[in-house]
């Protein structure tokens, strides 16, 4: 990072050098000691070349180099009255001194930038016979620029360090997850095999197979839950929560491959409604009878359906129950969903019974 900054500084050095050299050449005729001015320009050019080379390697960026850099800038300021006469306006090195200033800011952070700025500004000011407003302004800018550049360099360095730490943590987490996957996969393979062979062998082996099947489902659910992360407070991934329902024998849960975030209360009610539907399947169709839960996520709403393959609800039974004043299970399910500002629809027929809930994704405002 520091090398990048010194690389940029090398460009700055060349630009300010050109400025100083051009000024010297243009003004050469009107100067009291043209030869001395040219000599100074030659020194600046030589040092710029040397500094550009020297700062490339981090190991060469010693205190000695930085001290020499600053000392030369100060020396050139100090010889100004001798070269240009006591009533000079622009100093000999002019803007060239920012090279040393920024080098200090980069290497010694804001303290370095501030210190170098103060030194350069002081030397500049004390030599002048007539202090003008602009001289004071330039000096002030030197100190300010040195401090700010130094501060920014420090911030950049810190951010880079933090980013490195975060990247390393992410890489480690990813590697851990990969290893976990390998381990889980191995366990799942064996569980699946036991389940399969057990079923074929029958008898006690079938019971073992069934147990293996329970564990297999449980582990698969855990793996899927592990991949989902709670991002915002108060929001939960309803897809991961619904996956828990697969623990029940015969239940298949289908969700999109991405997290579906809902306010925690909404998600809780949706899962509870789905669970109530599945309970109903157990009662009316049979233990372990198959049932399917499907979650679909749209930008403005989620759709949840629970279906079974049972014989369906005989027509008129729900109406009878309602007429008799009994608020059946279906009414309580419907109530949960309408409280969320959604709709619940029940379709029943030879294809089984299917609940379909549509719930808005924003929290209901009237509660």
């Amino acid at each position: 990072m520091e090398s990048r900054l010194f690389g940029a500084l090398a460009v700055v050095r060349v630009v300010v050098l050109l400025d100083a050299v051009v000024v010297t050449i243009v003004r050469a005729g009107s100067l009291p000691h043209p030869a001395a001015s040219v000599a100074c320009a030659v020194v600046m050019t030589a040092w710029t070349g040397f500094a550009t080379w020297a700062y490339v390697q981090p190991r060469r960026r010693t205190f000695l180099l930085l001290a020499a850099d600053l000392a030369l800038a100060l020396a050139l300021l100090l010889v100004t009255p001798l070269v240009k006469g006591a009533d000079f306006r622009a100093t000999v090195p002019s803007y060239w001194i920012v090279g040393a200033l920024i080098a200090w800011a980069i290497h010694f952070r804001w303290v370095g930038g501030f210190g170098a700025g103060v030194l350069l500004a002081t030397v500049d000011l004390v030599q002048r016979q007539h202090l003008q407003q602009s001289d004071y302004g330039n000096a002030f800018l030197l100190v300010l620029a040195g401090s700010i550049v130094g501060f920014l360099c420090e911030s950049l360095q810190r951010m880079a360090a933090e980013r490195d730490v975060a990247e390393r943590a992410a890489a480690m987490a990813a590697e851990r997850a990969r290893l976990a996957r390998v381990v889980h996969d191995g366990v799942l393979q064996v569980l699946a095999l036991v389940q399969r062979r057990g079923r074929e062998l029958g008898g006690e082996a079938a019971e073992l197979g069934r147990l293996a099947g329970d564990q297999e489902r449980e582990l698969r659910r855990l793996i899927q839950a592990q991949d989902t992360v709670v991002i915002e407070t108060g929001m939960v991934d309803v897809a991961a929560q619904l996956a828990v329902l697969e623990r029940r024998q015969g239940v298949t849960v289908s969700t999109p491959g991405f997290p579906v975030e809902l306010p925690a209360a909404t998600a809780h009610e949706l899962v509870a409604a789905a669970r109530a539907c599945l309970d109903n399947v157990r009662v009316h169709v049979g233990e372990d009878s198959p049932a399917w839960v499907l979650l679909q996520a749209h930008p403005d709403r989620v759709e949840l359906s629970v279906r079974d393959d049972g014989p369906g609800i005989p027509s008129g039974r729900l109406e009878e129950a309602a007429a008799a004043g009994r608020l059946g299970v279906s009414e309580s399910i419907r109530g949960r969903i309408t409280d969320l500002g959604g709709t619940a629809e029940l379709v029943t027929g030879s294809f089984g019974t299917e609940w379909e809930f549509v719930v808005p994704r924003s929290a209901p405002t009237n509660l």
Binding site: R181, Q189, L193, Q195, T252, S254, G257, W292, R307
Partner: protein
């Protein structure tokens, strides 16, 4: 789909790194009269043996030593677009399954599926019939939803028709093709066609995405 016609046995290749499992699958397939023409324990072996074995169906575990099942699927389909890849996965990792289907797999089963389910699935994919589990249908539905929610998607991109979405939704709700056909009053074959074209569109979208990615990264300019 004339069952009475005597047809040559289906040529199957089994790719799985667990020897126990590989043997069990091989035995089941062979026992049912299918022709297991090759087995492989990892991606490299699979790619090396595939050209000579020329299987009609590949029963493939996704979690195999490199290259993984997704890369192997893509390469198989590239070499032989007629090959059918049936993915068997123990963990059912959603992202992996979806990636495999995008890469060209035409079926997916969880490993705990029974022997009969496996045989049925192999026979069905051999006929070019995609084998969807409800879980996979849910993933695919979610993927198309994601595509249509992306604001910059252009009109040339494949979208599902209303009917295709409807059929896919029913698959995700666990309905069999027969049940779907009955409920929508369409033929069994039409249901299969809808499911097939859904998969085709997903794979096409995958290619469009890859191409766009390549263009954005300037990979096409050499």
């Amino acid at each position: 789909m004339d069952q009475s016609e005597p047809s040559p046995p289906i040529r199957v290749m089994v790719v799985d790194d667990h020897p126990l499992w590989r043997d069990a699958v091989e035995r089941d397939l062979a026992g049912a009269g299918l022709d297991v023409v090759a087995v492989a324990a990892n991606g490299r072996e699979a790619l090396a043996r595939f050209p000579a074995a020329r299987p009609g169906v590949v029963v493939l575990d996704l979690q195999i030593p490199a290259p993984d099942g997704i890369a192997v699927t893509a390469e198989f389909v590239r070499q032989d677009p007629a090959v059918r890849v049936l993915v068997l996965s123990a963990s059912g990792e959603q992202a992996d399954v979806l990636a495999a289907v995008k890469a060209g797999a035409t079926g997916y089963l969880v490993k705990s599926a029974s022997r009969e389910e496996l045989l049925t699935a192999v026979r069905r994919v051999a006929q070019g019939d995609p084998v969807f589990t409800p879980g996979l249908a849910g993933l695919v539905l979610g993927e198309f939803q994601r595509i249509s929610d992306t604001p910059r998607s252009d009109p040339a991109e494949p979208r599902l028709t209303e009917r295709e979405t409807e059929v896919l939704k029913m698959v995700a709700k666990g309905m069999s093709y027969r049940q779907i056909a009955e409920r929508l009053v369409i033929s069994h074959r039409t249901v299969q066609n809808h499911v097939q074209s859904t998969l085709g569109k997903l794979q096409m979208h995958n290619r469009v995405e890859l191409t766009r990615y390549a263009i954005e990264r300037g990979l096409d300019t050499d």
